[in-house]
Symmetry: D3
Subunit: 291 residues, 6 copies
């Protein structure tokens, strides 16, 4: 059952899993499928294989692996040694897959690409989370996600211990520089947003301490401190006196995250978690014939 | 016309462009769309914005940017300063977008995510290509692509000057270790493939020089030298005497690529071009009101 | 098995069920799913819930409820106390759903919206049907259905004891005022339709008794008496002398339906069955922990 | 241009418009299309038609009408007398459509069904809004929407002057009775939600004043007063002393809304706006031949 | 405008055209598109090509050709010498296509496959129609269509002068042997169908004259004379005395159709029109450079 | 299990099976489904039916039959007497289907259309293959496939013992007359293709022996002898001296194939296998009540 492989603290829609797996399989199988396997391996050949993490990391995507193989051959059997969210050492065996050899090879690359991508995001997230442990700061992802994989990558961030910022333009009121400029100022932009009638918290992007003042005056719920120096962040924390939540943002590195966390912000959003995390190195090792 | 923005040496199906843009926009707009812009910016407000590359790199994805804005508001005007495949310095202005401010902000993140991802792949590819210039070696991508984006990333590799290895399991006969093992040896596996009747060249994965001998004996067209030392690669080139094409593969770094190229292989396939290339840093700068 | 929950006198395609449920679930789960349940309820928590009709009515849509929960968690167990088409009193327990609490809450609103909408249509239909019992008149729905739900609503009408008029523009020859006018008269329009070669019965819209004469003369199979007074309807029945079928149409209320039925028409088509029926009031009551 | 027909205060994704129109047209055209029009009207016949509101109401859905005709024949010309959100008297002419007669009749029912459904929702909303004018209360819709039409109906609510409550299970933290019960109490449920790391406001459903106390103690941001008597609502307003926002909910009628508004709540959510609003009565009147 | 290329006597939904063209193009372009053209032809090369019918026949599918090229490059120009339904001699030039050479070659096979298939159906239909001219018999297609192309092939039958029998299981009441047998006899089956409340004509399959008697007694509207000898058909015509419509069916050849027509049946349904018609032979001839 | 019904020498993606069956069922069921069966057959009626090949042929498509019935009613039981690729005599019973009578009749035509079409292709292929037995020639299909069914028809060709030429424009380098002409000659076109960096073999279309010389000089891997006389083919075989593979193409009949095979070509590609093969004649015979 793919379901029980999900990280217990996060949701991933079965509709998203099905859509992502179908799309990825379609582009790998093409129209003729795995012609090398069809040509070389007798149809009835059984096989057993183990999915192995070559490098250490946090696992995310096991339900997608299960769904990939299930779509190719319902009789394939899956036995996982863990569920999403587990931290593993290099060379850890993640799951065993048993079934028709052709179907297993046909699904290999799709399964590994999905698992490698999401585990890469989870692993990068976990590294940031680990480094700010002991502070009040939470590590968040942004909307700088891989096109087509947003729900999956947001899920992977949670597997890594991070938190999700908004999923799209529609589930948060985030007033950025362009909104401010086009709406003629912070005060007016916040007023527009309040009048819009949404109950979502209002977040305002601030590049200077002057803007921090204005946003606090406008009673913003959250301040996005954009590309601010650590000194200015510290100053913003003082000015704020706990009124709004403070979020650090803008090209944040591991070191930058630690400094921002120590400066006292509540939230650190890191685009690199999703736009630039390398995939986790994985392999599918066919170990022995089954049956 | 989105079409004229394509790299002249590569094909990207309009069906792929439309599908990728639709999917990416849908996940960013959600059900309620850009609520912050709706709340703060009057509907008739016009704007002009410039897409800027913050870092140096090779551009790939301009037709997707155009398609994104066209889907949101057909009246948006696009003026590009280049087409895909161009190498640019940091801070280069790539294109100007003019139209309704709301629609432009609604498309901003989707457009930048697509362009950033593909330009990241093109830029990484170009760096490998540049380093092996003067050798016979060609830089190729693998099937370790982002799930759902294969056709786009393969296109980006060509924008960066690289070459495309197979697109899926269906357009190449690539006999890997598992096929060899399950088919009882290289000779038998190659015989099976020839009997299959395909006219595709037959490629055989070799981990040792002994396997190189066997694959040449079986008259393979291409040899995939998997995770071989540079010394062994050099030896394989000698043994081969020009009979088969030789391809180096397996965790190839920039330095590894240079060494393999000097060793004399014909092709170097690099998974990292697609599975771990960081996105190119871009921004959309709203510069002045239009009209 | 969702299948055995269907009304025995009607067909509903499994493709329609799957499409409607997928679409409805997708819009309710969004990208992040049921975040409140994920946050508050431990993943392994089991639950049992009962779907209750708060008001009296005719039930339609139980297979959609089953399909909704099956899509979220295949292990959810469904036990229905009836099938579609059943008339129930207020406070009747319709079905019991047992399984993981999170999945059950995730599907609650989607399941109730589907069941409430279709049962609303079935209930409204049944009320009309009940009132014309004893006459020759049959109650039919029109094409004034909710966009995207036509096949489902037509099915609900049958659950309520009504009959289906045409499903679309393609399965009936219905010559309306505009066709008559653009084709230069009833006689000519009917001639065109006969020449078209379809074996479908030819129905002609008549607003006056003069048009009734012309349509009968043109040997129409069915006459649509559009917005006619009860007196005129009675007169049309006399003129017709059993030659064509007569259908009353146009803003028909319960009282109007009774009067038309008594006037002797064969069929009464009621747009309000689908375009304006209120949803049946339902709830999902979590009753006790299972296991 | 369909775009300029949108209500200026609301967003409706072009992707949603296209999907809804395609689906609705497909179910009305079927496989053979408008066979009556094909049989009776010569292909080159031009026509001009006017969309008329037979009853008074608030208009919503004009861009969908335009998109419907554009899909059938790009040469159809649309001239609208207003945009979405306009209040109109009975017998108002909304827009003129000119083009090939066959295509216009083929799109008639689809266009009217979409416009009638959304205008019905907007009209119902407007009536509630009008009645609570002068109080602090805002009228909101719920998730009791027509399956498959949520984004459209939420848009229609805004056209009618209402506000949107959450769009799905994923964009609000709304702790209902089942969450409370399964999570062992209000305090614990709120704590879980805070720990989840979302910045969304936390809303708690309260059926009694005792629960109001507990929810305030747990520092909920919003209290959903579920099926509470007007007296209890008034009492809740007093207890609250402006700390949380208060929302009245549960089978709210026009009279109930007025009473709740006077009792001092901030928000009144009304399921009937979407689940039971009758469609606005509309017609397409072919007025004269064009050209 | 693709629209004006349609046969004036038939409808083909723009939704069907778009879906068929998208699907067909996708399977021909694959992921990498027309790699030979990309490799050999400079991107800016213009071309002009003529679609030629190598054999004589009836043309059907020109709007699909136009839609194919429009999807690949909106700037491609189409000039047709006729519209669907035209009878042409061998070597007739059907249309001229001008635009970028790469896009034209990319669409060539898809366009020709669509046009060849539909014109093959239209041509086969026309041959049957021609042979029964002067009799009362109409040539009809069946549901033995190519999976996925039903609406298109039904349209092609009309282009060839034939008529459409039912489009699916849902738009005709056709009681076949299995229904009769499972419902315990013709009389009972017809009674069930009448009770179902549909206004569709009732057709009954008859294999013997005894069944013809029973079906007439049951007042069937149409009799399907299945695999009956010409003598029996003639006898059935006499027995019928104009009461029901008579349809000949079952492995009908050209000669069989002529004989059945002379025997006096009203309708002859021919599965081979769609399930076994050879494609019309076509070519795309690149004639000279444009511009 | 549909899976074990596949031809052992060929791959057919489960994604393709699902898509083809869904599309074909949708067009046959329409919106109202099998109304005749709903009206005449009680819902609980069981049935057993046998799929029979009326004519001799090679079977292809059994997994699609199984998938069709599985989609309509999961409880339908399938027992096949063979798998795809089997040669059968006329009147052979292929498989037994047991389950609810309504669902079986609802799926009948879709299942037979799919099986008939693919078996028709397999049968036509087998006839060509049989006739060239004993020569070196392999029978191949082309891209002249039925729009939307390419992957299925290519699979059917393999079931019949044939081989697959390219699946699309993207998996072979085939330089045809237009490429040669637009690229200014064979030598230049081949050079362009080699520079493109693909490892696919390069095939060149030759209409004359002069072109054969040029293509061999350019070191093409395969020569497509287009519409060449048997004498010229024989001459081309001599000139070639085993250097390139030779493929005969162009309106090939059974007799032409035998002659080409004897002339010594390696491959004969036959468009008629897919564009003009008649469907295999099949029936579903309901034999007795089950249970």
């Amino acid at each position: 059952m793919a379901r029980s492989l999900l990280c217990p603290d996060a949701f991933l829609s079965p509709l998203e899993i099905d859509a992502a797996v179908t799309r990825a399989l379609a582009e790998d199988l093409g129209r003729a499928g795995d012609i090398t396997a069809t040509a070389t391996i007798p149809e009835e050949t059984p096989a057993r294989a183990i999915v192995v993490a070559r490098a250490a990391g946090v696992i995310s995507g096991l339900p997608l692996v299960a769904a990939t193989f299930a779509k190719l051959a319902p009789e394939i059997d899956i036995a996982a040694n863990m569920r999403d969210g587990a931290s593993v050492a290099a060379k850890t065996e993640l799951m065993t897959v048993s079934g028709p050899a052709r179907a297993m090879l046909a699904g290999e690359r799709t399964a590994l690409n999905l698992l490698g991508r999401l585990s890469g995001v989870a692993t990068a997230t976990h590294e940031f989370v680990r480094r700010v442990t002991g502070t009040r700061a939470r590590i968040c992802c942004t909307r700088k996600t891989t096109p087509g994989l947003r729900a999956l990558e947001k899920y992977a961030v949670r597997c890594g211990g991070g938190f999700n910022h908004r999923f799209g333009r529609d589930d948060a009121m985030l007033i950025k520089d362009n909104h401010i400029w086009l709406a003629s100022g912070i005060a007016r932009a916040v007023a527009c947003v309040r009048a819009f009638g949404s109950t979502l918290p209002v977040e305002v992007e601030c590049e200077t301490l002057d803007e921090v003042d204005k946003a606090l005056e406008a009673r913003a719920d959250i301040l996005l401190l954009d590309n601010m120096s650590i000194d200015d962040m510290r100053r913003a924390v003082e000015i704020n006196r706990g009124r709004a939540k403070l979020e650090a943002s803008g090209g944040v590195t591991l070191e930058g995250a630690v400094a921002a966390a120590k400066a006292g912000v509540d939230r650190i959003s890191v685009g690199a978690l999703t736009h630039s995390a390398p995939a986790l190195d994985l392999s599918l090792e066919v170990t022995k014939t089954w049956r």
